[in-house]
Every structure is written in C-alpha cells, then in structure tokens.
C-alpha cells in the first residue's frame, strides 16, 4: 500500500509539472504584452509617470519579463509555489485575492455535485438492473440517455427560460438571496446557500448522473449474472444481502474509478453554468481573465483547477485501493 501511494504521489508531481508548463505556454501564446497593457492601464488612471516606471520595472524583475521563456517560467512557477499567484491587470489586485473564495466555492460545489450524483445515480442504477425491463427501468434508461445528451449549459438556459417566463424572474438565480450576497459567512448564510444550491447541483450534475446511472446499470447486470451470486442465492441469503454485500461491492468499482474522469467534467460544467447563470464561481473570472489577456490570473486559475483535479483523482484512487483488494495487492 505504501509503495502504491508513493508511486501515485510521484506521478502526481510529474503531471503537475507538465500541467504548469502547458498552462504557461498556452496562456503565453496570445499576442500582447503584459507590461505594455499594464503601462497603458496605469497611464489611463493618471498615475505619476515615475510610479509607472518603477511598477513596470518591479514586474519586469519579478516575473523575468523580457528574458527567455524558461527563466520566465521558472520565476512564475517559483512564485506560484510560494502562494503568490501574480497580479491581475484587469482588477488591479493580486490574483490570489480574486481567486480565493471563488475557487473554494467552486470546489465545494463540484464535490457536492459528485456526492449528489452518487446519491441519485447508484440506487437508480441498481433498481434498473434488479428490475430489468420493468417500467421503471425503461423510464430511467430513457431519462438517462436524455440526460447524457443535454449539455449543462443548455439545461441552464432552459432553466433560465423557465424561471423568466413562468416565474417572472427579472434577474438570474444566484447562489444566495440578495441580503446574504455580501454578508460574512454565518449559519444563516449557509442555510440560504442550501436553499439555492440544489438547482445548481442538478444542472451541473445532470449529465454525469445520467451516465453514472447507465454504467451502474450495466455493471450491476454483469455482476448479477456471475456464478457467485447464484451461489449466494443458493446459500439462502436474503436479497438485500446479495444485492448490497455481494453485487454492489463489485459493481461500484468502475464508478469509483471514474471519479477521476467525472471531476474534470464537473469542473468544466460548473465553469459554463456559472457563466450562464452569473454565479460567483471561478468560471466567469476565468472567462474575463482570458478575454482580457490577464495572463497571470488565467494561468493561476488553470493550474489551480488542474491541481484540484489531480488531488481529487488521487483520493479516488486511494478509495478504490481501499475498497478493492485486487488493486491493493497488485502493486
């Protein structure tokens, strides 16, 4: 087990380095120069020319601008590791200030979506398999296929349409009631969040829930056809015991191992849903940063999102190794 964890940790670090280089290159690709933009921006704000010069010089020094890309990358990577995410030119604030709460909210919502997905999809998938070809099975199979085909931003748009035409809403549903938007975190604010968040979870999680239902149903059907299930039946075990102790334990493995692939999709989904519904998540910030060529902000967001994903995958792998002795013993 220890070698397994160490192996995975090493792999994570390598992936992270590749991701950092890739993000940096991608974000550096568009034409346009950070310093020129910064200078223009400061000039517009009628800042004293001397201050402009010193600010620009400071950034040139700090990020090694004007030097070759390798040094620039090393400086950026080093400052990122120290927790300094650079400076947002659009917002005139350090990037970490902007990312902070939005990122944590995004991650919480993604994790909540994942949990929501499990709670909905596993029982439905099991039910569909146990009562194969029943009316329930047909209904859920159809709904699942529909759910797989509808991208989250279209669900969000339909939701927007319904709330605008049916309920006469003039603004978009947010995460909080108006009185709590700027309030500090408190129990009341949390309860208020719970009241609003389920819609978001539903919209973001619909596609993945649907495909999890399909996988769960297929795996459960496979497992129920295994000889050891017949053995269990012949031993006279109760149906509940057969389904939960014998079938579910094996059938759930592909679902757990697919968390690693679900998480990026959920993050992508929440990005665009947040843009459509203007939620205070990381999505709109990233879009603005990319549009405004806000290099360091965009880059940091990309890296942090991927870091969250890699950690998520790592945890999923650990869970899988803990659940399935075959994986644990192999390494």
């Amino acid at each position: 087990m220890r070698t397994y964890i160490l192996q995975r940790l090493l792999q994570m670090i390598i992936v992270m380095i590749v991701v950092m280089v890739a993000s940096f290159v991608i974000v550096e690709l568009p034409p346009g120069d950070f310093l020129t933009t910064l200078r223009e921006q400061l000039t517009e704000q009628n800042v004293d020319p001397k201050v402009i010069d010193s600010t620009v010089a400071m950034y040139r020094e700090r990020y090694g601008l004007g030097e070759n890309w390798f040094i620039r990358f090393a400086k950026w990577a080093w400052s990122l590791m120290k927790g300094d995410m650079g400076y947002s030119m659009q917002h005139n604030r350090p990037a970490s200030d902007l990312i902070g709460e939005r990122l944590s909210l995004t991650l919480w919502i993604s994790v909540a979506t994942l949990v929501f997905m499990f709670i909905i999809a596993i029982p439905i998938g099991m039910l569909s398999a146990i009562k194969q070809y029943s009316a329930w099975d047909h209904a859920f199979t159809f709904l699942a296929l529909l759910g797989v085909s509808v991208p989250s931003f279209i669900t969000a748009l339909v939701f927007l349409l319904l709330s605008v035409t049916m309920m006469g809403a003039t603004s978009v549903a947010g995460l909080f009631s108006p009185e709590y938007v700027t309030a500090a975190w408190s129990w009341a604010k949390f309860v208020d969040l719970l009241k609003h968040v389920w819609v978001i979870l539903f919209i973001v999680g619909l596609g993945d829930t649907a495909s999890t239902i399909r996988i769960m149903r297929a795996k459960m059907l496979d497992t129920l056809g295994e000889p050891y299930i017949d053995t269990a039946r012949m031993k006279g075990l109760s149906s509940a015991k057969i389904y939960f102790r014998h079938a579910l334990r094996v059938a759930i493995n592909p679902i757990i191992s697919s968390i690693g692939l679900r998480f990026p999709q959920i993050i992508s989904g929440s990005t665009i849903v947040a843009i459509v519904l203007t939620l205070p998540l990381i999505g709109p910030l990233l879009l603005d940063a990319l549009r405004g060529e806000d290099v360091y902000l965009a880059c940091s967001i990309l890296v942090l999102l991927t870091l969250a994903l890699i950690i998520g995958n790592f945890l999923a792998d650990l869970t899988l190794a803990w659940l399935d002795p075959r994986i644990r013993l192999e390494s």
């Binding site: 992936v15 690709l29 085909s149 279209i154 927007l160 978009v172």
Partner: protein
C-alpha cells in the same frame, strides 16, 4: 463481409443439395449480421433516419431555408413565430395552410414591440417557391422548399435583427454538424495511430504515451479549450478560425479514442494469427495495417460515433461563450449567444430553439452509438 449468404444465391444454382441445407440454417455474413442486429434496435434506427435527415437538411440548407442567413426584415424585428393556420378569421377552413401578415405596433406604456395580424388577406404557404437566389455547390438557383405568398414567414420567429431564426438554425447547423464529423475524423486518425503504436510497441513507449494521455484527460477540457481558443490570431478570417477550432477540439478529444484502440491492440497482438504473420516475415507496419487495424475498426467506429457529440457540444459551448466560431459565420452556439441575455430571453423565448436542434443531434448520435455497440457485442443474443 463479402461472404454472400448462401440462401441468397441465384435460384438457378446447380448444387441443389447445398441449397437445401442452406435453407435449413441461414448463413449470413458478419457485416449483415451486425446490420440485422442494428435494425432490431428501433430507437437506433429512428435515430439513424433522423440523423440522415438532419445532415441532409443542413447540408442543403440554402434550399430548405426560406431565406438567407443574413437577410434582414427591418419591419419584423423580434417577430414571434408564425403558426401556420387552417381556419381564417371568418371561421372558414382552408385546405392549404396560410399565415397572416403582421403590423408592428408599440405598446404606448412599455414601448415594447407588438405584432397584430392583418386578417384582411391570407398568405398561403406554398412548396417549391422561387425566392432569394443562392449558390449551392456551384449551382445557382432560387428555388426554396417553402415560402408564403406575398409575405415573410418565420416558423421559428425572428431574432433581434429581424432575421429568420429557422434559416439561421439551418445554416448554423451546417457548421455545427460538420465540426463534429471533421473533428472526429482528426481524433480518429490521432487516436488510431497513437493508440496502436502504444499498444503494439509496449514498454517505455507505452508508458510515456499513457502518462501523456492521463495528463491530457486530467485537464478540465472546457477551461483548456477556452485558453487555447484565445491563442488563435484574431485577425484571421472566419473559415480559418473554424478549421482551427475544429482541430483544437479534436486535439483535446483524441485521448479517449487512443485508449480504446490501445486496449484492443494489446489484446490482439498476442493472437495466433498475428503471431503467424510475424513468423512469416510480416513487418510491423504490415501487421498493424493488415491484421490489427481491421479487427479494431468496428469498435473504434462505435467509440467514434459516441465521441461526435462531445465535439459538437464543445464547439457549441465555445461559440456560445464567444470564443469559438466568429461571425459572420454562424453555428448553433453562436445563435444561442442571444439567448444568454435574460432581457432578450424573457421577450423572445423562441431564441432558445437552437438548443433543441443541438439536443436532437446529440441524442441521435448517442442512440446510434448504443445501437452499434449492442449490434457488435458478440455475447448479445440474436
């Protein structure tokens, strides 16, 4: 595939005994078996027909669309959809559907546009009308599938600039559906080449490629697409951007396909017939092309069918955010941009119509992919 079913041979077959035996146990080729299995799945067949229709209509959109994509009707801005009527204002029944022309008014209080029908004259809808001229595949014509006599007809309403939404959806569909096919073709090439190399060579090459794919798959695809699409030069023309966006979508999307191909190759390379080929002196290229690729192909086609929706949705999402296809080129995502604004949507709910076309296309691909997968499953009953 080319093995003809014995029962289907010409009746003047000399060997009567063989024919009799064939009557007893009908023999069908592998390809035909898959086809027959596919036909049994009604949902997949309906989806296949629907998809053929979607592609036909969007490819020949200048004919099926009543107007051009940029034709503006300035007095019909934000016009709600016309519903073809059969019964006129006097309660008389007409066999041929018709529409009323409308007059634009302003609500004196809210200043909102209102359209009231002018019931004095009916405008029957006709098939094969001569209207705007267009060029389709070097072929000039002015024939359109339908149109109203003496009036404009917007079956799905008009947008904020007085353009027919249905026509724009058909023209946009041409781009959106093509992106899916071209994108998957590129993904398929990359996936097959890289997947086969990885699976067949094994060892260090395999590990490096697999780790590479893991890195690719661990990026959240949408943020990555967003970042990449902004790296495209802005001054390029729309066609170039379109091609680059397609390439970009497939570059992020080939990882899954490569994994499928690798798994298949890994299983196949230890088969006896591959070994036999190698022993008789077949080189790697020959074995891969002649023995492993054909055996892979059917599963790869299923995986590719199921990958098309991802690429179509990727393009739609990017264009929807304004990072994909650039005007004057239109795609379903570009059309949905208008629906993003709450103020537009509340007054013109029909702007969401492109979403249903996207859903129909994606649903069709998923049904067909499912049907193909079931048909190819060697363990499925027949």
């Amino acid at each position: 595939m080319d093995q003809i079913a014995l029962a289907e041979r010409a009746p003047d077959q000399p060997d009567l005994e063989t024919e009799e035996r064939a009557e007893g146990a009908k023999q069908v080729s592998f390809g035909r078996l898959i086809f027959l299995r596919f036909l049994r799945n009604q949902a997949a067949v309906v989806a296949a027909i629907a998809l053929i229709l979607i592609y036909l209509v969007t490819l020949a959109c200048p004919f099926f669309a009543p107007y051009g994509p940029t034709t503006r009707f300035l007095d019909m801005v934000a016009h709600p959809p016309h519903i073809p009527r059969f019964i006129d204002a006097e309660g008389q029944f007409h066999l041929q559907p018709f529409v009323y022309a409308t007059v634009q008014e302003r609500d004196p209080k809210t200043m909102q546009r209102k359209y009231s029908p002018n019931t004095a004259q009916i405008h029957p809808l006709r098939l094969f009308v001569r209207a705007e001229e267009y060029t389709f595949l070097f072929w000039r014509s002015d024939l359109h599938l339908f149109g109203a006599e003496g009036a404009a007809v917007f079956l799905l309403g008009a947008d904020t600039q007085g353009r027919d939404l249905l026509s724009r959806i058909l023209f946009g569909g041409r781009i959106s559906t093509t992106v899916g096919l071209i994108g998957v073709a590129i993904s398929l090439c990359l996936g097959i080449i890289i997947g086969m190399t990885s699976g067949y060579l094994g060892g260090a090459v395999d590990s490096v490629i697999q780790r590479g794919i893991e890195v690719l798959l661990s990026f959240p695809s949408l943020p990555l697409w967003m970042a990449l699409s902004l790296a495209l030069p802005k001054h390029w023309n729309a066609v170039r951007i379109f091609l680059l966006i397609t390439i970009l979508l497939s570059i992020v999307g080939w990882g899954g396909l490569a994994r499928v191909v690798r798994g298949m190759t890994l299983a196949l390379k230890s088969e006896e017939y591959v070994l036999a080929s190698r022993m008789s002196g077949g080189d790697t290229g020959w074995i891969l092309l002649r023995h492993i690729l054909p055996a892979n192909l059917s599963y790869v086609i299923v995986a590719a069918t199921l990958a098309v929706p991802g690429i179509i949705l990727g393009e739609t999402a990017l264009s929807f955010l304004g990072l994909g296809i650039q005007p004057p080129m239109i795609s379903w995502g570009v059309l949905l941009q208008d629906a993003q604004k709450v103020s537009f949507l509340s007054q013109m709910p029909w702007l969401i119509a492109p979403a249903f076309f996207i859903m129909a296309t994606v649903l069709a691909f998923n049904f067909i992919g499912d049907g193909l997968r079931d048909a190819l499953d060697p363990y499925s009953k027949f």
